[in-house]
Amino acid sequence: MSPPASGPPASGPPASGPPASGPPASGPPASGPDRAEWETVVGLEVHCELKTQTKLFCGCKNAFGDEPNTNVCPVCLGLPGSLPVLNAFAVELAMRIGAALHCEVRPSSFHRKNYFYPDMPKDYQISQYDEPINVGGWLELPDGSRVGIERAHLEEDTGKTTHQGETGRIHAADYALVDYNRAGVPLVEIVSRPDIRSSAQARLYVTELRAVLVATGASDGRMEEGSLRVDANVSVRRAGAGAFGTRCEVKNLNSLRSLGRAIDYEVARQVALVEATGTVVQETRHWDENAGRTVPLRSKEEAFDYRYFPEPDLVPLAPGSDWQERAAGAVGLLPSARRERLAGLLGGAPTPQQVDQVHVVVGQGLDDLIVAAVAQGAPAGLALVRAANELAADIGAALALDAGTFGSVVEMEGRGELTATQAKAVLAELLAAGGGDPAKIAAEKGFEALSEGSLAAVLQGVVEAHPEEWARYSAGEEKLAGFFTGQVMRATGGKADGKAVAAELQRLRQ
């Protein structure tokens, strides 16, 4: 279920003219079905659930995955006589996001967006309308292009509706079940300018924005849990044309893959429509991931008349400059600086694989663990590999892991006390148990270190037992290295490190 559409930018005509700030986005070359004479124009609305303890207007817990309807109170259930009170930390996080996106913080106010739908028991959603907290700004993407930010405003999330019926499809549902734990959870909606020119650039924008939201501490960035949701406004125009074409808003984009596919589909559909009929109908469409297409949403015209009016139960918000500065100061290192910091630790030119790994760990907020591990003496390259693979596979547990513990495992592997396989097993155990003593876990698993001396001794024994093979290996028959490694592994019960064996073999042969 997608959240209600955003405020005015979604319902007004497409913005025109160049971005207010920053150079126009050039972006990567268009991908997908674009034809040379057509240009793709995309603006994105990203809804980000804030990582607060409580909801936006009441003290109910903001938690994902709790038992249905256990985090509810008179305010978020819309019971008569209840009054909302704004969560200061949600305001703080909204200002951090604004600062990271180079927005201006303005005095703001709240409106009621009225609609009848059971995901909001009040029959309205409290949102910021004509006076959002953050206005104007931009996000620079790793490819150097810039996407303008129109606004980033505060609003409350809706409850979670599950449609029940034979097929599970909305239109075929017999009835619906509603859980109000999510109703009232704080959101910041980030509305980009229509500066995005391809599906690839749209994915890059969301990836980078997610990394920014994680870095500021505002979001956990989990698209799969719905804490980050994206709607795309897509239109096409002839290359070189000044005016934008008629756009469609595409909802239900639950992953980067969906986002890219939906934009490519929508562009091809609109180009075909304009070429055949000369026009596109402005409408909201739903992305069907299984069918790989967008379909129009059935909606009565009047469903979009939200009758916005000022929320009389909330007074205006005007954070003072001292608070704004504190929030901006809490932003910390942004993803680009975090990537540079890791590149510095790796030294030299990173391999393409390392560049990918750096993006993964920064995007998931795992880079602080690597920095701490390196500071403690662990090799940077190895720490990066373990973070990008083993830690990234269980983010929630990894972020709760003590930095020193992770560093110790990488150090042990770096010193050859653990093989790669053993280090992975120890990390898995630590993540599953929520921490522990790596040396103790290694000992319990029987991963005692095989010292260099004992490895040499084992290898010597193996060589003496197979003189014929050794003579052939010494004469340059490289494939026998595998034979000797296998023999050593058998003799040590798999405790030897493959790389160490290879090095020892080379040494013995010389």
């Binding site: 279920m1 997608s2 959240p3 209600p4 607060t52 303890q53 409580t54 009441c58 003290g59 109910c60 817990k61 249905p68 309807n69 256990t70 509810v72 008179p74 978020c76 259930l77 009170v85 704004l86 969560n87 200061a88 930390f89 949600a90 005095p107 106010s109 009225n114 609609y115 739908y117 059971p118 995901d119 006076e131 809706t158 509706t161 599950t162 449609h163 029940q164 019926g165 909305i170 549902a173 619906a176 079940l177 509603v178 859980d179 109000y180 739903h286 949403l297 059935r298 909606s299 009565k300 009047e302 469903a303 008349d305 000022p310 909330l314 007074v315 205006p316 918000l317 005007a318 954070p319």
Partner: protein, 102 residues
């Protein structure tokens, strides 16, 4: 400032529809007359010269009413669901929804 068009019966029917109110023909006539008088009053106010008066977002001279981000216990689920018209799997059971959330 240009004069907004006079309020018609169709406008009242539209607004009633948005608020999910079903009005009889007679009620439509009554409310069209009453709402027109309310709007006339607003028109009187908008005829005043207020160019040097700052816009007011709220009648109280108060800003930044905030609470700290501390959880407090909500309602007992049993009590909450007892007020629901129908319940399944500890969730509110509601009629089939036509279309999507707006």
């Amino acid at each position: 400032m240009s004069e907004p068009p006079a309020l018609g019966r169709d406008d009242v029917a539209h607004v009633a529809g948005l608020a999910r109110l079903s009005l009889s023909e007679e009620e439509l006539d009554t409310f069209t007359g009453q709402l027109a008088r309310v709007i006339d009053h607003a028109r009187d106010v908008s005829s005043l010269d207020v160019h040097d008066v700052p816009p007011t977002a709220h009648p109280l001279p108060v800003r930044n009413v905030l609470r700290t981000d501390d959880p407090c216990p909500g309602l007992d689920r049993g009590e909450v669901l007892a007020a629901a018209p129908d319940v399944e799997d500890n969730r509110f059971k509601v009629p089939r929804i036509v279309g999507e959330a707006p």
